[in-house]
Symmetry: C2
Subunit: 321 residues, 2 copies
Amino acid sequence: MFDFNYLNIVEAYKNIKNKVIKTPLISSEFINNLVGGKIYFKLENLQNTGSFKLRGASNKISKLTLDNKANGLVAYSSGNHAQAVAFASLQENISAKIIMPKNAPKIKIDNTQRYGAEVILYDPKTQIREEIGQDIAVTENRTLIKPYDDFDIIAGQGTAGYEIAEELNHLSIIPDIYLCCCGGGGLIAGTSTYLKYKFPKIESYAVEPYGFDDTKLSLENKKIISNKPSFESICDAIITPQPGNITFPLNLKALAGGIVVKDEEVKSTIKILAEHLKIIVEPGGAVAATAALTKKIDMKNKTVVVMISGGNIDLEMFANL
Amino acid sequence: MFDFNYLNIVEAYKNIKNKVIKTPLISSEFINNLVGGKIYFKLENLQNTGSFKLRGASNKISKLTLDNKANGLVAYSSGNHAQAVAFASLQENISAKIIMPKNAPKIKIDNTQRYGAEVILYDPKTQIREEIGQDIAVTENRTLIKPYDDFDIIAGQGTAGYEIAEELNHLSIIPDIYLCCCGGGGLIAGTSTYLKYKFPKIESYAVEPYGFDDTKLSLENKKIISNKPSFESICDAIITPQPGNITFPLNLKALAGGIVVKDEEVKSTIKILAEHLKIIVEPGGAVAATAALTKKIDMKNKTVVVMISGGNIDLEMFANL
C-alpha cells in the first residue's frame, strides 16, 4: 500500500494554500464553562463553498494534466463535495458534471449550479451513484473526482489539520482530544494523521450519527462493516453506507475510537452554536460539537479540538430549529 | 485635549490580548464576485460575549485600582456593552450593576444576567440612563464604565483595528476602504485611528441606520448634530442620539464620511451573510456589510475591510428573517 503520511499533507498544503481560506480556530468562554474543558472549534463552515471539501477538490484538481482538465470532470456527492468540485472547476474554467441525490438540500443543489456545474439528479433509492459516475467518466472521458477514497482528496482535507496544528503551535498549546465528523472518512483520516504526527499523544475520535456508525463498528472489529439499512438522519453530509477502502486503514491507524450522537442532540447543538458562537452549522458539520456538548467523553480540564466541517443547511430548516 | 493616537491602541492591546479572542478576518469568493471588489470581514460577532465591546470593557477594567474593583462597577447599555462589562467583571470577581432599556433584545438581557451582573431595567421613553448611572455611581461609590465616550474604551475597541492591520500586513495587503458601523462612535474612532496610522491612504466611512445618521451629519457640518427624534430602527445597538464629545473629534480627524443604510437592506444583508458566510449577525452589526453589499460606495477592484461588530440577535427574530 502507498505509504500515506504527514508529508502528503504538507505537500497538499503547498498546492492549495492560495486557493482556500485559512479558516479560524475559535473558542467560547461560555461553552468552555459548559463542558469544563477548553474547546477550539475549527470553522470549516467559513471555508469558501461552506465546507472543508474545497481542500480535497482543489488538491486533486491541482494534480490533473492539461488534457484531463480539457476533458472535464465528473463527481458524485450528497452536496458539499459537489459544490467544492463545481467551485474549483469554475476557478480554472474546467467543465464539471455533478451527480447529486434528488433529495439533497436545496441550498447545495442551487449553489452547485450557481458555480456553473451541470447537475444530474438521481434517485438514491433505485440508482447507484458510483455506477452513474463511472459511466459518464468512461463515455465522456471525464476524470472522476471521488468524494473521499483517494489519497489526493484525503491529503487535501488533511490540510485543515495542518492549519490547526500551526495555530496551536503558535499558541504553545498541546491538544488532548480531537473530535471530527465521519462519513466516508476522508476529512478525519487526513486531519488525524497530521495531528497525530504533530501531537503523538492526541486521542482522535470519529463522530457519527445514530444508525450510521459504520466507522465506529469497523474500528471496534478492525475490519470494514456496513451500516444496517433503513435508518434515517438529518446529517445528510455524512450518512455513507460504510468506511472507504482507502480511508479506513488510515483511520484504524490514527483513531482512538468512535462516538455516536442522535439527531435531537445535533439539533440542540446547532442552536447552541448559533446562540453562543454566532455561526451557522449544518447537521453533519455539527456532530463533533454535539459529542463535546453532550459530554460523550470526559473533557474535564482537557484541551479539545472540535471540527465544524460545514454550514450548508437550508435556511428554512435552520429557522425551524 | 489629550492626544489620543495609535500608541494608546498598542498599549491597550498589550493589556487585553490575553482576555479577548483574536477574531478572524474572512473573505468569501461568492460575495467578492457579487460586489466586484475584495472584502475582508472582521468577525467581532465571534468575540466572547458576541461583540467587540469586550475589548473596551476589558481595557477600562485593567486600569482600575484594587479599591475601584472592590467597590464594583456600574454601566448603562442597550445590550452589548452590558454583556461585555458583566463578562469582564465576572472574570475578575467584580460586582457589576447594569442599566438596560426594558425593550432590549431578550438575548442581551439574559446573557448579562447569566454573566452574574445585576440588571436594572429602565424605560427609555421616560428615564435617562446617564442619570440613573450617575446616581448609582455616586451613592454606591461604583466606577461608571461608559459605553464609548472614554479614551480607555476607545483604545480598547481600537484593538480590533490593530488585529486587522497585523493580519493584512502578514498577507501583504494594503486596504483602500474601511467600512464600520457607528453608534456612539467608539469602535470606529479607535479602529480608524489605528488603520489610518498603518495605511495613511485608507478611506474610512461611518455607516449608520436611516434616521440615525448623526455622525454623517456632524462630519458634514464639522460639529456635533443630533438626530431628529421619532425615528425607529431594528439596529438597536447603534441608535444613539448624537456623536460622543470625545469620539467625534477623533472621527472628524480619521473619517472620510458617512453612509446611511435602511432596515430592509440590513435584513437582506443578514440573510446573505447567513447563507454565504455562515455567520449570525445582529442588525447593528450588519450595517457596514449592508453598505458594501448594496454598493453604496464604488468598490470596483478595491480592497475593503468591513467590520461585523456583533451577533447578539434574538434567534426568533433571526428565524423570522
